[in-house]
Symmetry: C2
Subunit: 364 residues, 2 copies
């Protein structure tokens, strides 16, 4: 049941298909696509009830590794539990796998601070996992991560003219709220829970900002310092990758919701050219009342592509839970499906492929 998104009304633009709402379509950039997924951990996800991105709070650390294995193999290998709640909506990795399978788009994983390393090869930035942001000293070696990611971005930017970058980091919406708050933006924040634990998140962020002594002025003047205080290791990785992709005729799609909005604001304050960047996410993020998407669109000046994988019409109860607001986005799912849509995949094909991936995963 594709549903026309308010974005198309807010920003005049064209629809690349009936399941993707886009303000602008980089139609000349489909020749040589690449999908990247940055995998990170932050101890912030161990704060009780802050993230639903794992079977239990204790197992959240395994989620990025499990997600990577599901994208590559269709099942987990080094992780016994699936990265999802029992009887809950499946990890968005099922959408990412389905989109990459349908299109054959090449993909690479980037390890930027994993606690648990998957049985999948990855570009290693040598980053330690992120720390609990409540203590205001969250990301060791932020500058090194940023520089190393820049190096990789420089190389990959020569190989592809259309690069989509997703992430998997449990607790990432809280660290995104941290950096957005530090930089002085009040868009709200999305969640992998239906009922967003906003009180906990705001208290955590407040505690971290107080501990770090960050002010909006300091954070805007030195966004890497702000990440080091109250961010996560995914942020300097994605920012560096984008910084390294210097070719002016390429398109970069940041694939995610709140977390990629946070990265976009970081890039802006780092003075990096954002004219080549758009954001792609699922309609479940865009419909989340916890985040002021209108304000995001107004402020960022960045094309946002919203993807509806048609789960309302699925025969699988777990997928229909996305429609109720569970999980919503992650593992670059929105961006991977956006790229699939650009390459001509229909909503029906996408839904069928996601259902097949889900059924194989649950029977494994």
């Amino acid at each position: 049941m594709p549903q026309r998104n308010p974005l198309a009304v807010l920003r005049p633009g064209k629809m690349s298909s009936n399941w993707i709402t886009s303000a602008e379509t980089p139609e000349d950039c489909r020749s040589n696509p690449l999908f990247l997924c940055v995998l990170s951990n932050t101890d912030t996800c161990r704060i009780p009830n802050i993230s639903a991105a794992g079977a239990t709070t204790e197992l959240n650390d395994y989620t990025p590794a499990g997600d990577a294995e599901i994208v590559v193999y269709g099942s987990t290998r080094s992780v016994l539990e699936l990265p999802m709640k029992r009887d809950g909506a499946p990890t968005p990795a099922v959408m990412t796998r389905a989109a990459l399978q349908l299109t054959g788009i090449p993909y690479l994983f980037v390890n930027s601070g994993l606690q648990i390393v998957p049985d999948v090869p990855a570009i290693d930035l040598g980053a330690p996992p992120g720390r609990d942001i409540r203590y205001g000293d969250a990301v060791p070696y932020t500058g090194t991560i940023y520089e190393r990611a820049t190096q990789i971005g420089m190389q990959l930017g020569k190989l592809s003219d259309f690069i989509t970058i997703g992430e998997s980091i449990p607790g990432g919406t809280t660290t995104a709220l941290g950096i957005l708050t530090a930089l002085g933006y009040d868009y709200g924040v999305s969640s992998s829970y239906i009922n967003n634990p906003l009180d906990i998140k705001h208290a955590v962020v407040r505690q971290g900002i107080d501990a770090s002594g960050l002010t909006t002025g300091k954070a805007r003047a030195d966004p890497l310092h702000a990440i080091a205080a109250i961010g996560d290791p995914m942020m300097p990785a994605v920012a560096g990758l984008v910084r390294g992709m210097t070719s002016s005729d390429m398109s970069i799609v940041l694939a995610g919701g709140t977390q990629m909005i946070a990265v976009f604001t970081i890039l802006t304050h780092l003075g990096i050219d954002t004219s080549r960047i758009s954001i792609a996410t699922t309609k479940y993020v865009s419909q989340d009342s916890s985040i002021d998407f209108d304000a995001v669109i107004r402020d960022l000046g960045c094309p946002i592509h919203v993807v509806d994988p048609g789960f309302a019409g699925s025969h699988i109860a777990g997928l229909r839970k996305y429609e109720a607001g569970e999980v919503k986005e992650g593992v670059g799912a929105g961006g991977a499906m956006y790229a699939a849509g650009l390459l001509g995949v229909t909503q029906g094909e996408m839904l069928g492929a996601v259902e097949a991936v889900y059924e194989a995963l649950m029977s494994g």
Copy 2:
């Protein structure tokens, strides 16, 4: 002083330039090149007097990390000593850096069993360092390395139609002799020393083969098992990368001397299509009397490109030592320069760039 190589006489072919002797030139594959360098360690290099690929035998473990840092930064970072003998010929990393700088070819490093990790991001195959081949159990997780490298090769093969793969692994000519002997080939073996310590190498290999119980039949029937017994972690990495690059219209250049000849024979016995593969190396390997290059060319049925960087005419004594047979090759130097030649770089430009890299390195 370009010197016509006997290869051009042995195999009818064309010269792509006056400093590169090629049997066949993949002229239609220059649109989207990529350079890969696999970095590995094997404890085999700790056997006294077996490898000159480091300042001292004790420092050989640092050589791949130092090489990678020289390629990226022009100097070492995490390693205090340069990966070369004092007053000796410089590491071939200076050629690789010069060629990549001149051409802008994108590059990625692959960590397949590093003891020391460089201050450079790399694709991590999660491999442990190789063990001393004398004990016949040299490469743990050979199959896993091979599978993970295959995954990476599948992705990179979609991004580039011309992939050059080099290596840096001290002790690698000894492990190459190990696998060649196990597979029943008697080409001899090159060396980073002027005076190749062949007696030591043959004794080491004999001991390893005896310890492992390998026969030629067993090794040919199961080349991965032979690598596990008497090879090194670079081999399953390069073999897997090639295996994953399934596109029939791409060119793969194995950049190196004896070690890539060993990989080529492994690929042959693995039943992998080698029709897209050529080998590029320096003239210092091709002129090494310790290796029967004529037999290699006759047996392998693989185009070999031989590169002369013109060091005979250099004002730098360290570079002229290559002409005397010191170091000879490594870090994919021959292949990187071959790609540069295909892209129109002249021998004079190459020599000048290598001299500049060398002078910056030594003054740093």
